[in-house]
């Protein structure tokens, strides 16, 4: 869920370090530092591999993920089914490969939506201040007053189970964290001299927001988003596991785990592999996010 160890203040500082127009020049240094960290390289490799598998799923998968095969029901691993077959004789490896599309894809889309909404609200609240800020932040306060899963669960409950509704529920709940962090960053940048100068030479608000504020906010957002991609994946798969998200025969990993529940003693491969896939993917996201944070925010460094 929400990782409370992500410090808005620390990220704000990272953003502040990154402004002053030096961000472009720092890119090289940043890349060097990032690549020196072996955990970052491991994380990137994992993420890249999973992304590749997701994109190339129809080519890589040895079999059709929804092909039912009565002769292979609950088959253990063999040369034909490397990771075994499920209760309908479907090839587990092929389902996992296709599942990468669903699991990574939904997490990616949901996180992107969350980031876009969070940046928009945060920038507007932070830049304009006053009544707009008050109203937006009171909405944020109320939404933050719920444990995130409670509200997402309730929204899905009201809309009815489906993967689309799970994403709606997650996005509706999750943008508030970003809005808060972005607002804080914006407020800290608003009184900078270059923003004042921009005002003085008559730049319109949208120009200041898009040309001067947004580029300085983006690096921090990327860190937050990478750190939370893993959490988002866990949450969406979790709701699918409960039967609220992806519906059969969609090979989403959480839904695959749910499907394997009745057989977890007789045929544990139905649950072991999808869980392993989720774990490795999330480890990848977390490693990349942690390293990005270390590089962008030296204060958090070990």
């Amino acid at each position: 869920m929400r990782d409370a160890t992500v410090s808005g203040e620390g990220l704000a500082r990272a953003g502040v370090n990154a402004d002053q127009g030096a961000w472009r020049n720092q890119r090289v240094v940043f890349l060097q530092r990032f690549l020196k960290d072996w955990t970052a390289v491991v994380g990137m490799t994992i993420v890249a591999l999973f992304a590749l598998v997701a994109i190339a799923a129809p080519v890589v998968a040895p079999q059709d993920p929804t092909q039912v095969n009565a002769s292979a029901i609950l088959a253990p691993s063999s040369s034909e089914h490397w990771l075994g077959a499920d209760n309908l004789g479907r090839d587990i490896l092929s389902r996992l490969i296709h599942g990468a599309r669903w699991s990574l894809g939904t997490a990616f889309v949901a996180t992107t939506l969350v980031v876009v909404i969070g940046i928009t609200v945060g920038l507007i609240a932070g830049f304009f201040g006053g009544l707009v800020d008050d109203i937006l932040m009171r909405i944020v306060d109320v939404l933050l007053a719920f444990p995130s899963l409670v509200l997402a669960l309730a929204i899905v409950g009201m809309l009815g189970p489906s993967l689309r509704n799970v994403m709606i529920g997650m996005v509706a709940v999750w943008w508030v964290d970003y809005a808060r962090v972005i607002r804080g960053l914006t407020v800290s940048l608003r009184d900078r001299e270059y923003i004042t100068s921009a005002h003085c030479i008559g730049c319109p608000s949208h120009h200041i927001i898009f040309r001067h504020l947004l580029p300085n906010v983006i690096p921090s957002v990327i860190v937050l988003a990478t750190l939370e991609l893993g959490a988002m994946m866990l949450a969406i798969s979790g709701l699918s596991f409960l039967g609220l998200g992806a519906q059969p025969p969609t090979p989403e990993w959480g839904a695959m785990l749910n499907n394997g529940r009745p057989f977890f003693q007789s045929a544990p491969q139905l649950m072991i592999y999808p869980g392993l896939a989720i774990t490795i993917a999330v480890i990848g996201f977390n490693l990349v996010g942690d390293s990005l944070r270390d590089v962008l925010d030296p204060r958090m460094k070990k």
Binding site: M1, L153, A154, G238, L242, G275, T279
Partner: protein, 311 residues
Amino acid sequence: MTRYLIRRLVYLIPIWLGISFVAFSLANLTPGDPARLMLQRDLGRQPTAEEVSSVRDTMHLDDPFILRYVRWLENAVTGDLGTSYRTGEPVLSGLAQRFPSTLQIAGLGLALAIVIALPLGIMAALWRNSAIDHLSRVLALLGASMPSYWVAYLLILLFAVKLNMLPVAGKGGWQHLILPSVTLGLGACASLMRLTRSEMLEVLGQDYIRTSRAKGLASWAVVVRHGLRNALIPVTTVVGMRFAGLLGGAVIVETIFAWPGIGKFVLDSIFDRDYPVIQGFVVFMGTIFLLVNLVVDMSYAWLDPRIRLSR
């Protein structure tokens, strides 16, 4: 301290109203006409248009939104959150009855997390880059990356099926508590451990720590009295947030272990489209979350005299 408490309580009122408004608005997300749904459920056939419109009248569904909200709010404040479609019992008592079970595993899970996370986090900070620091890093990464709904089954396979030490599911003696609590506490343990470590590192670098070492204070006293007490302030906040998160996240663990708590109750209600229960759950958990935060704020003030005195 009392004044501080009163201030906090007053501040909670608008937030609670916001929570109630969100909960009420949620009901409007439901697809279809609630009156028609209710009639279908009660009659077991398609209701006629007259039946639907008469029920819409008695349910005041055609009134303006705000009016319906105020009417609902009046009831909610007195503890009337409606009745469950499924069981016919009042929603609030249904939730309240099951809440202690959830509290049990969430409380034990959090306690386990703290007992493991604090010492490991402190040791990792004291002996940076030692074996124990690396171990804590790996554990934290695993704890944050493994889905609880997967870990639960691994634990069941190992402790209940292979070793036959603990029951697979259900509610009974203390043995039934262990696996659900451990599963629930795992994620919290990981983040608490990392946070304790980074806060301890930050605090141990302060001047007053050097001063207390220089004046010859025993090293445990430096670490515990001057280091830990200051490091605990942010940790407390996260403990509170985590606790509320555990209560809300218990739905997965309760489903796996057939634990008769509030989460399982809500999940069953979702599949039965028992909307008043879902709505009540939001109000109930929102209120609990506010109270937990209040307790955290109070302990904050107790731990840090600066907060108590400055306001």
